[in-house]
Every structure is written in C-alpha cells, then in structure tokens.
Amino acid sequence: MEVMIAGVIGLLTACGVYLLLRSRTFSVVLGLALLSYAVNLFLLAMGRLVTHRPPILEPGRTAYVDPTPQALVLTAIVIGFAMTAFLIALALRARRETGSDQVDGIKTVDSATPL
C-alpha cells in the first residue's frame, strides 16, 4: 500500500509538472490543479496511511489518525481552489490584454481568433 500511494503521488506530481511547463495558460491551470492534488495527498500521508480511524472523538475508542495534517490539508484545498480561480482570472485578463493565451503573451498564428 505504501509503495502504491507514494507512486500515485509521484505520478500526480510528474503530470502536474509536465503541464506546468506547457506554453498555454490553460495547461498551466490544469498542471497546477494536479500538483495541488499531489501536495494535498502528500500532506495527508504525513499522518501515515490509517484505515477506519477518523479523528472524530467517540466514547470508547482510543485509536485515531493524526488530525494535524488533515487540518492543514483542509485549508490547503480551499486555498488551492482560490489560487486556481485566480490563475483562471489572470489567464482571461492576459488574453484580453495580449490577445493570446500563450503564457508570455506571444501572439501566434494559430491562436484562436475571436468570434
């Protein structure tokens, strides 16, 4: 299980990094989203892989998962969402200003023509 989860996090990172390095804003947004997933899972894994022990206190139960990483991840998810949204807005504004969705604002011939 540990190897599998580590592999999944690695794969999500690799996919995210590859997309981040593309030249179009939309790919970068996708890449960042994938990278956020990887980071969130990574943070969760800091509390180790625990089954059926949610950090909800119940009388009679003594074993719980470490709640600290979860609290971090919860805010990370929301902040990650805010960042994605901001990036989208930035991409739209950049296209409005430069007429292109290339990350450096370079106009290319095959850039979609506005209707």
């Binding site: 996708l30 989208i88 409005r96 979609a112």
Partner: protein, 945 residues
C-alpha cells in the same frame, strides 16, 4: 549582556555613563535640525548645525577628565545579543582624540561652509549630510562592538557618497562619489568578513574582550586571512596603494567636504582601525610586511605623484595619501614608539591638512581657479591668507617650530634604530629622507607657485582677501599648528599620551616631545630633507619633463575597466536567467527544486528504516488505477481542453475517495465541493479561451520537460515513501486528541484545530481567500475577453434555460441550504464545518444563476459578495477581540452546554461564531469568483432587454 561585564556592573555603567552613546546619536538625530532651520535663513541653519555639533563636543569634554588617567568608560545596551551585536560604546584615549578631531574640526568646517557655499547651494541639505557623517564617524571611533563599528563604518561610506556628490549636477562629482563608494564599500565587505572571523576567534565581538585576546588571535591559523580582510577594509578607506585612486577623484566635492572628510576624518578611519586593533593584530612579521611595506610604498609613491599635480586640491589629495602612508608605515613598524609617532602624526596631519584644504578653498573661491599654472603671485592680492597657507604648508613640509616637524622628527629618529630588515636596515633612514625631500618639494611648489612666481594668468575673477569668517577657521587651525609646534608639552602631550596608551595597550616607553634633541642623525635628516626638497623644486623643470613623459599612474582606467567588465558579466547573466519567458523561469525553478531535493536525499538514509507494509485491498487498487488513468488522460488529452477538464474532475473525485479511504471524512467533503466549483469555473473560462491547444513545442522540448517531470515525480514519490515507512511521531496528535473535547468543546478534532487551536492561521487563510476573490473581481472588472465559442443560447434562445433544471433548481435551493446548515451546525463534532457549508451554499446559489435568468436571480438574491467577505472577517476579528475583553489572548474560545426543548442537549462554542465568519467568507468568495466569470455578456443583456 555584553561579554566581560557582570549584570550589576552593566547596570551601574548604564546608569552613570549612558551619555556616551549620545555623543554619536546627537548628530545623527540632529541631522534634521538644519533641514528644519533652513527655512529661517542661512545663518539660522548654520547656528542650528553648530549647536548640534557643540552639544556633542561638550558632552565629550565633560566625560573626558577620567580618560587622561587611563580609565576606559563603557556604556550601552543589548541589541541582538544572540548575534553578538550590542549597542555598546567605549571612550578611551584613542576614541577621545578622534572624537575631539571630528567634533572640533567639524565645527570649524560648519563655520567655513556657511561662507564658502553660494546662495544657490542648498545649505540645509549640506549641513544635514555633514551631521549625518559626523555622527557616523563618531560612532566608528566610539563603538565597542565590532559589528556596531562596521555599521557606522558603512554609514560613513554612504554619507560621504552624498557629500562628495553634493553638486549632483556635475558629472565629475557623481563619478568621483560613485568611485569612492565602490572602493570603500568593497573594503567594507572585506572588513565585515574580517570582523566575523576576528569575533569568532576571540569569542566575542566586544572590543574589550577582543583587545584582551591578542595572543589567541595571533596564534590562530586563521590569523593571516583575518588580517588581510581587515587590512583591505582599512586600506581602501585610508586610500593606501593600490586603492588610493579614489581620493584624487573625490576632490570634485565642495572644499569644506574635502577639508573635513579627506584630512581629518573619513580617510583617518582606516588608520584609526589599524590603531584600534593594534594590540590584537600588530607585532607579527606578517603585520610588518603587509602594513609597513604598503605604508612605505604609499608614502613614497604619493609624495612623488603630488609633485606633478597642477590642480591645487589634487596636490593636497596626493599629499594626504602620502601622509596616510606615513601613518600606516609608523603603525606597521609595530613598536610602541612608532605607534606614538603615528598617533602624533594623525593629530598634526589633521590640523595642517584641514587648514590647507580650507586655504585652497579660499583661493578657489576668490579667484575661480585651482590650476597652479594660472595661479601665480597671489601674495600681493591676499597677503594674510597667503601667510596662513604658507605656515600650514611649512608644517606639512616639517619646518621647525611647527607641529609637522615634531612628528616627522620622531619618524626619522625611529628609522635610525630599525633593524627589522636585517642587512638592508640602513635603507630605512635613506628612504625616510627621500620621502621627506619629496614632501618638502611639493610643499614648496604649493607656496611658491601659488603666491609668488610672477603674476596670475587669465583668472576668472580679480583675487582679493576673503570675508573674515571664511578665514577664521584657517587662523584657528594655523594657531594650533604653531602652539603644538612651539610648546608641545603644554598643549598636546596629555592627549597624545592618553591616545597612544590605548593604542599600545600597555604603559608607554619614555619619549620626549622637546623641540631640541641636540645635533643628531634625525636633525641631519631633517636638514637634508629641507635643503634637498628646496633644491628639487628649484630644478623642477627637469622633473616635470620626466613627469610629462612618464605620468604617475591613475587607477581610474583600471577601475572603470573592471567596473564595466563586471557590469557586462552581470548583464549577460541577467539576459540568460531573466529572458522574460515564464516557461523558462518555471523550468529553472523545477530544475533547482529537483537538484536541491536530490542533493538533500543523497545525504540522508531516506529509504532505510522499515516498518511493516500494509497490504493492498482490491477496492483501493481499483481507485488508484482509476486515479492513475484519469491523471494520465488529463495530460494525454490536454490539448482537447473540454476532455481534459472532465478528466481532471475524475482525478479530483478519486482523490476525494482516497481521503475517505484514509480516515479523512472532512477532507473528502471539502474536496468534493471544491471539485464541483473548480470544474464549473474551468468550464466557464473555456468559453473565453481557445477550445484546443495547438501543438507548439518541439519533440525535443517535450522530451526534456517529460524528463524533468519524471525526475520531480520520482523525487516526490521517494520522499513520500521514505516518510511512510517510518513510524510517526504522535506527540502533537496526542495533544490535540486529548484536549480537543476538554479545551475546544468539540469532537471533530480537525474542525477544533481549525477554529480554535490554530484559529489565527485560519483567520489568515480566510483573509487570503477573500483577497483572492477581490483580486479576481478587480482583474475582470474591465470586462472579459471576447468569447471563442458561440453561445448555444444565442443561436437558439428557447434552449436558454432548460425546463427541467429551471423547475428543479428552486426547490433544490431550500434543500441544499438546509444541508449546508446541517453541515455547519454539526461541524464541531462531526465531519462538516464552515468551509464545507460555505462551499455547499455557494453551489446552491450558483445553481440559481445557471438555471434561471441572470437578472431575475440577481434581483432576488440581493447578496453583495464583497460585503459578505468583509462581514465574515469582521465577525472573526470580533470573536477574537471579545476574548480579549475577558482578559484572554486573542481568539481564545469558550463553550457551554445548552438544553433546548426539542433539539435536546447540545453545545454552543464561541468558536461557532468564528466558523460562521469562515462560512461567510467562503460563500462570498466563491460567489464573487463564479459571478465574475459567469456574468452575461453585453450582447446577451441587449438581447434580453
């Protein structure tokens, strides 16, 4: 606590002598006064400045009596004791001597500048800079902490930049100022490194401790490096060869600045440092060869070069370099008696050189010219000034009955007894006499060329005597030259003894300040120097021919060559690193992250230290396979954007399932809600972006990026695995689990952490969320880009609001809001809470916009998102502050059990108000984001109306 002082001693010292820090602080703070007084006229401005300098001087004199008995006063307070940086000062003989020179000559310069600078010059700015410099310089000489000393040292470099470049419209002033700063600042950096090493070796940065650690320092293997670094700082500041070239170019400064900085103060900071650290660093072979030889060479070279200067101030600049070389040489010889001679010459040179600079300024002021080829025969136009200048120049040449004679005689006497160079020690007296000859020759040129030698040639103004106040400082200084020269024992002796004692660090050997020592070798050398110098000047034609053919080197070309070289390299490096391409930056960032990560993992034993693996169950395997597949497909189909968004949503869902699988229900709920909102946002954005990405990057480029991505992935995977196979450290978890119910009143520990234990963090994060929303609104306030896909509704209006969705959405609103309320209320004890409830609410509201007419919905949903965010933040802040009213720290929570008739027994925690704030912020943020992207276009609105 400064080292070496006990707690009680420190307090007593603090109470009694805390006036010492005021000596530098008064001018530093008082630098404002001339700026304020500047409006009330030039005289008021000068008086205000003089008052500040006088205050420092009086304080210094008031504290001085015990110093003459060999007492060292210390005062100050702790600043950053962890770094060894303390705000500590010491007043000993050396500091007193320099303090008197700085404030005394400073006062004369203030008077002089009042009449020197013209009506056009901004006197307030000049005086403010002068006081700033004065304070910094006093700080250098009074600091007890090496790091504090360095701070003031750099401050002198900075303020001297502004003073040299005071006439900022002049190109040569700007260049000269920049050169002075570059050279001295580079030296300052070396000095910092040297001080760090010295402090490390001595175990403290306090001078009191460092001065006592002389033997430790000298026997330490780092001594040579430390010495070289410190000497670089001292030599650049004191214009020693080969760093001397900045000083002649700094002559573009107004003459009061030259008289102050380049005679008595700033250039003396370097030799001050040599004197200050004399007990720690001196008396080794290395010290002798580095300091002594540099000083000797500078002395001879600059004296030779001074002879060929045609600019009056240029001559004085080179003669200053030469005299600084002499002082360096005297300190470099390393014996107590040469150190006394060195200190004596520091005093004498400051006095006569300041008066000479001022006299040169008067000549420049009254004739408009500084070229000695034009300036001739001025004696008949300004006899009194000429007499003063000639007396000062005679002191510079070492004529008897003047102060320069005494220290030069001491120097000559010392060279006779030197045996430091073995068989060629007899060279010392000869070289000393040669230096004396040159110094007499250039002094003779200064006197004869300017005041006699025919008539002036083409002067811009008819020369005449200056106003008396412009001349008064020169008169005072020349009087001191005479007094010290005639009756040294009754004037300078106590101060010299006190200063020299603190340089040598032990009781002084006996020396005599008498004028007449009988007929001996030093007197013969003096006689030879005087007659030889006169003869050399007499036969100057031959020398000038030689000088024209082989002009003394000017380091300026080398300096500018190197400077341009450096700028060129920096520019090329910048073009490589900063080429304006975000892709390039990102790949550089990734490469760095990968390299640093690999380097870090290489060192540790990351992948050892096992604990048993868990087995894989089929359901988890299936979920992971789906996750892998969707992630891969997101990349594979990334150019067909709609498909890619769908696949990304799949990844998000699988991640949510993973959260469920690994005991994180709160995360799963949040992830699900966020996933929906993100997908909606991406779909909305797709309308304004090209639907497909064209294939742009080359195959090679894609392989490179893929390689980088795979490396990053492997790194992260290895890191995760390395952590997963180690046992966890449960302290933090145990604390939160144990105190959650008792301290926070909630069973959902994650929620309690968010709204209670780490409430301040959550406040910050909620604020970031709000700022992001406002940023998005601002970014898109000027309108969206033109759409790239045709809206289906425009082509087919009746399709605009699908019937089923429209009818379903209204009742769904109530249900969803109920769900949100449920999630919110139970959040403290069960999965849920403000974040999740906020997302659900926002989605419910957004559905209304999707299903119905935008205007219809807007009219009925009178929610201002920005106000929502603001009220949420205000609520959180209020919750936090209320706890303050009861005397608890910010954001302390409390809770109570409440019994309600139907609902039964439940708790109300003050943290709930906090969570409500979070809820409001999330609702406001998400709504703002969705509406910014999803608002109808102008065309549609038109169509509607």
């Amino acid at each position: 606590m400064a080292q070496g002082w006990s707690e009680s001693e420190f307090l007593i010292i603090l109470l009694v002598f805390n006036m010492i820090p005021m000596i530098p602080l008064i001018p530093l703070l008082g630098a404002l006064s001339p700026l304020l007084a500047g409006r009330c006229g030039r005289n008021a401005c000068a008086w205000a400045t003089a008052a500040v300098a006088t205050a420092s001087l009086i304080l210094l004199l008031w504290l001085s009596p015990p110093i003459f008995d060999g007492v060292v006063l210390q005062a100050g307070w702790r600043w950053l004791p962890e770094l060894g940086l303390n705000f500590t000062f010491r007043l000993d003989g050396l500091a007193l001597l320099f303090g008197l020179l700085i404030t005394g000559i400073g006062l004369l310069v203030i008077l002089y500048a009042r009449y020197y600078l013209s009506e056009r010059d901004d006197l307030g700015r000049f005086y403010a800079l002068l006081l700033l410099f004065m304070g910094a310089m006093l700080g250098v000489v009074l600091a007890d902490n090496l790091l504090l000393l360095l701070t003031f040292w750099e401050l002198t470099s900075l303020s001297s930049l502004l003073l040299i470049g005071y006439w900022r419209s002049r190109a040569d002033a700007r260049q000269g100022a920049r050169m002075a700063l570059t050279v001295t600042a580079v030296g300052g950096l070396a000095l910092l490194a040297g001080f760090l090493l010295l402090g490390h070796i001595a175990g403290s940065f306090e001078l009191s401790a460092v001065l006592a650690a002389g033997e430790t320092v000298k026997n330490h293997p780092w001594y040579p490096l430390t010495l070289v670094l410190i000497l670089l700082g001292a030599f650049t500041k004191s214009a020693q060869f080969p760093f001397h070239f900045w000083l002649p170019h700094a002559m573009a400064a107004p003459t009061p600045v030259s008289a102050y900085l380049h005679s008595a103060t700033m250039v003396k900071a370097g030799v001050f440092l040599l004197a200050r650290l004399f007990p720690v660093l001196a008396d080794t072979d290395l010290w002798f060869y580095l300091v002594g030889v540099t000083g000797l060479f500078t002395l001879l070279f600059a004296a030779y070069a001074a002879l060929f200067q045609h600019d009056l101030k240029g001559l004085l600049a080179y003669s200053t370099i030469s005299h600084l070389g002499l002082i360096t040489l005297l300190l470099g010889l390393g014996t107590p008696l040469t150190a006394v001679a060195g200190v004596f010459h520091i005093i004498n040179h400051a006095v006569f050189k300041a008066s000479l600079f001022m006299a040169a300024g008067i000549i420049d002021h009254e004739t408009g010219c500084r070229d000695m080829r034009q300036l001739n025969g001025l004696f008949k136009y300004m006899p009194w000034t000429a007499t003063l200048a000639m007396t000062a120049a005679a002191a510079m040449a070492g004529v008897p009955l003047l102060n320069g004679f005494l220290s030069k005689e001491m120097f000559f006497a010392q060279t006779v007894h030197l045996t430091t160079m073995g068989d060629i020690s007899w060279l010392w007296p000869i070289l000393a006499t040669v230096a004396g000859i040159f110094s007499v020759a250039y002094s003779a040129r200064f006197i004869h060329d300017v005041f006699f030698n025919g008539d002036p040639i083409n002067l811009p103004r008819l020369p005449h005597e200056p106003p008396p106040y412009l001349r008064a400082p020169v008169e005072i200084l020349v009087a001191i030259c005479l007094l010290v020269g005639i009756a040294p024992v009754y004037t300078v002796a106590p101060l010299l003894a006190a200063a020299a004692t603190s340089v040598v660090g032990e009781p002084l050997p006996s020396y005599s300040l008498a004028l007449w020592h009988g007929f001996n070798l030093p007197l013969l050398m003096s006689g030879l120097a005087l007659s030889g110098g006169a003869a050399m000047y007499w036969q100057r034609r031959w020398l000038f021919l030689l000088g024209d053919r082989y002009p003394p080197l000017d380091g300026k070309f080398l300096f500018e060559y190197n400077l341009n070289l450096g700028i060129g390299v920096a520019r090329r490096l910048t073009t490589i690193l900063e080429n304006g391409s975000l892709q390039h930056y990102l790949s550089l960032l990734m490469v760095t992250a990968v390299v640093v990560g690999i380097a870090g993992m290489w060192q540790g034993d990351l992948l050892t230290d096992h604990q048993p693996f868990q087995s894989v169950d089929p359901l988890s395997l299936l979920a992971v396979l789906l996750l892998v597949l969707t992630a891969w497909l997101t990349v594979f189909w990334q150019r067909q954007r709609l498909v890619a968004v769908t696949m990304l949503g799949g990844v998000g869902l699988m991640v949510a399932l993973m959260f469920v699988r690994f005991s994180a229900p709160d995360l799963a709920l949040t992830q699900l809600a966020v996933e929906v909102v993100t997908t909606v946002l991406l779909l909305l954005a797709l309308r304004y972006l090209p639907p497909e990405t064209s294939l742009e990057s080359t195959l090679r480029r894609r392989f490179r990026d893929a390689g980088l991505a795979i490396l990053a992935g492997i790194g992260v995977a290895a890191l995760t695995w390395g952590i997963l196979i180690r046992p966890s450290q449960p302290e933090l978890a145990e604390y939160f689990l144990a105190t959650s119910l008792l301290g926070g009143g909630g069973a959902n520990v994650v929620n309690v952490i968010l709204v209670d234990f780490r409430g301040f963090d959550t406040l910050g994060e909620a604020t970031v969320l709000g700022i992001a929303a406002l940023g998005i609104v601002a970014l898109l306030s000027s309108g969206l880009p033109s759409p790239t896909t045709l809206s289906p509704f425009t082509a087919c209006p009746e399709m605009r609001w699908p019937l089923l969705l429209r009818i379903g959405a209204r009742p769904l609103l109530g249900l969803t809001l109920l769900l949100a309320a449920y999630l919110f209320l139970r959040g403290h004890n069960l999965p849920g809470g403000g974040f999740i409830a906020g997302l659900v609410t926002a989605l419910a509201l957004a559905t209304q916009y999707l299903a119905g007419d935008h205007h219809w919905t807007t009219a009925r949903l009178a929610l201002n998102q920005q106000r929502l965010i603001a009220s949420g933040l205000a609520l959180i802040a209020a919750t936090g502050l209320i706890s303050g009213l009861f005397g608890y720290p910010f954001l302390t929570s409390t809770f109570a059990h409440v019994s309600l008739p139907i609902l039964g027994d439940f708790e109300i925690a003050s943290a709930m108000a906090f969570d409500l704030g979070v809820y409001l912020i999330v609702v406001g943020t998400v709504m703002a984001m969705l509406l910014a992207l999803g608002r109808p276009e102008a065309a549609e609105i038109e169509w509607k109306s």
